[in-house]
């Protein structure tokens, strides 16, 4: 029972991290129609800038703003210099150009920071455990990550549904030309949205620093899962990104924890190990296929 609860919490924590990444990706893809494969690079840049600032200053609390600023600035530069030229192009050009960016950023980081993974310390204020239920301690840092994820989700919901920027984001997603013809500089809006997505990716990157190793290529591993999340949720929808992240984060965590165990009760040891490992790593793709069979445009398709 304790194990199940703990895995549920781990799943929730992974879900909220995925949400931070998916929110930016789904906004950029849904509104601007750009497939940004380099979204994972922004996550990596956030993590590296954070790890670098933490090593220099010795405190996580300066690493956090450093990671956010680095990711947002690189994101804004990426939009102004590269992505802006891709809006009118087909998806293949977008994939090629943003794949090129991945190679560039990976090469740049490997050259400037080296190939060996960096380690980041958990901030001392959050290094302990919190006993959330009697006999169930859980790392305070992971709880704090969840809190941040929930706060960002609420903030984004408010921004999209209640503010003027949010209205323009929704309006621009289906009638870009009309928004322009009514006097709104949509190019500026796109840069802003792109930088916001980058900032959230950077936030995810800094926050995972203390619980995973910071290394070249970390963005690509998580990018695939993030794409699964936004496809399951419905491309362009923040609500969908949230629901998709919960579903995929939970299925992935619980699948990895329990599928091999369940198989062992039926099959012999080595066979169960092999099959279980294979099955648990494809489980999110099975879930995606099932969702798409029932709802081809995802859980919360954007109307219109």
């Amino acid at each position: 029972m304790q194990l199940v609860l703990e895995q549920l919490l781990n799943g929730l924590q992974l879900s909220l991290t995925l949400f931070l990444l998916a929110a930016g990706l789904t906004l950029v893809f849904g509104i601007m129609g750009v497939i940004n494969l380099a979204h994972g690079s922004l996550y990596m840049i956030g993590a590296y800038a954070g790890a670098w600032a933490a090593a220099k200053t010795g405190t996580f609390w300066l690493a956090l703003p450093a990671g956010l600023a680095a990711a947002a600035l690189v994101g804004a530069a990426m939009e102004l210099l590269v992505v802006r030229r891709l809006y009118a192009r087909e998806h293949l050009s977008q994939v090629l150009a943003t794949f090129g960016l991945i190679l560039f950023f990976n090469g740049f980081i490997a050259w400037s920071a080296g190939r060996s993974p960096l380690l980041m310390e958990t901030p001392p204020q959050l290094s302990g455990f919190v006993e959330i239920l009697p006999g169930l301690p859980y790392p305070a840092y992971r709880l704090a990550m969840m809190g941040v994820g929930v706060a960002v989700a609420l903030g984004l919901w408010y921004m999209i549904s209640r503010t003027r920027i949010g209205m323009l984001i929704r309006a621009g997603s289906d009638k870009r030309e009309m928004v322009e013809a009514l006097g709104v500089d949509i190019a500026k809006l796109f840069t802003l949205v792109f930088a916001l997505g980058a900032l959230l990716a950077g936030l995810a990157g800094v926050m995972v620093g203390p619980i995973r190793s910071v290394q070249v290529g970390m963005g690509e591993q998580v990018l695939i899962t993030t794409f699964v999340v936004i496809v399951v949720g419905g491309i362009g929808s923040i609500r969908g990104a949230f629901a998709g992240a919960l579903l995929i984060g939970m299925c992935d965590t619980l699948g990895r924890a329990f599928v091999p165990m369940l198989l062992k009760s039926w099959l012999s040891g080595p066979l169960a190990d092999g099959l279980g490992g294979a099955l648990s790593s494809v489980i999110i793709y099975l879930v995606m296929a099932l969702v798409l069979i029932v709802r081809p445009r995802g859980l919360f398709p954007v109307s219109g």
Binding site: D174, M178, E180, L182
Partner: protein, 233 residues
């Protein structure tokens, strides 16, 4: 106020406008009439910068605007009510009005939600509804209200009454008459001559990408039979 001078434009490969010219004065209502595919909408798109003119000049209040981007042109004080209404379906009625609203020139009689709802009471009733759930006529009212909320000095309407029921059409014409009486300049593309004669000061008949005839409402009334044949009503 607006002067389009000898512009050419291509749209989807072929040349559509061959030296199109027109003027709209302050407080004036001017129409573009003609068969479909003759270049009326392309003229509007060129004015708004959506399909920039390839040659020729467009001036608004003495300022050249033909090379500006659409949002800059709109910010100069031109409000567009586009063909097909182009309502934002992911926004509520009220959000449609608010999202792009602005008062960049410091209008004397500033448009507000209350004033738009006064002009179109039906929009007030539906303010919380999604823009996509409105009827065609209500969407048209919303498109006009949305353009007015940018406090334009020139309002451009492209086929504003197309596909609407006669009663709703009459509402739209009444609204335009009121806007005219308040001193707004209006450029309107439509084919409803009866209503246009009562509303507009001058008319341009567009044929094959240029002006084939232009004149006042009185002049149009005299040659009405000819013009009707020309524009195919």
């Amino acid at each position: 106020m607006l002067r389009v001078d000898n512009i050419t434009s291509s749209y989807g490969g072929g040349l559509i406008l061959f030296g199109m010219s027109l003027d709209v004065g302050a407080r004036e209502v001017v129409t573009l009439i003609g068969r479909n595919g003759m270049g009326k909408s392309t003229t509007i798109r060129a004015i708004m910068g959506l399909t920039p003119a390839r040659s020729g000049a467009i001036t608004f209040d003495g300022k050249r605007i033909e090379a500006l981007r659409p949002h800059e042109i709109a910010q100069n004080g031109i409000g567009l009510v586009p063909e097909g209404r182009q309502i934002f379906v992911r926004l509520s009625v009220e959000e449609n009005l608010v999202a792009t609203s602005a008062d960049r020139q410091g209008a004397a009689n500033k448009w507000s939600l209350a004033r738009v709802y006064d002009l179109f009471p039906r929009l007030a009733e539906r303010r919380a509804q999604s823009g996509g759930t409105l009827s065609g006529g209500e969407q048209q009212m919303l498109a006009i209200g949305r353009a007015l909320m940018t406090n334009p000095r020139l309002l451009i309407l492209d086929e504003a009454t197309e596909g609407l029921a006669p009663l709703i059409r009459e509402d739209i014409w009444a609204c335009l008459r009121q806007l005219k009486s308040e001193g707004l300049s209006i450029l309107v593309v439509d084919r409803n001559l009866d209503a246009l004669l009562g509303l507009a000061d001058r008319h341009y008949v567009v044929e094959k990408g240029r002006v084939a005839w232009s004149g006042t409402s009185a002049e149009l009334a005299v040659r009405r039979d000819n013009i009707e044949r020309q524009i195919g009503i």
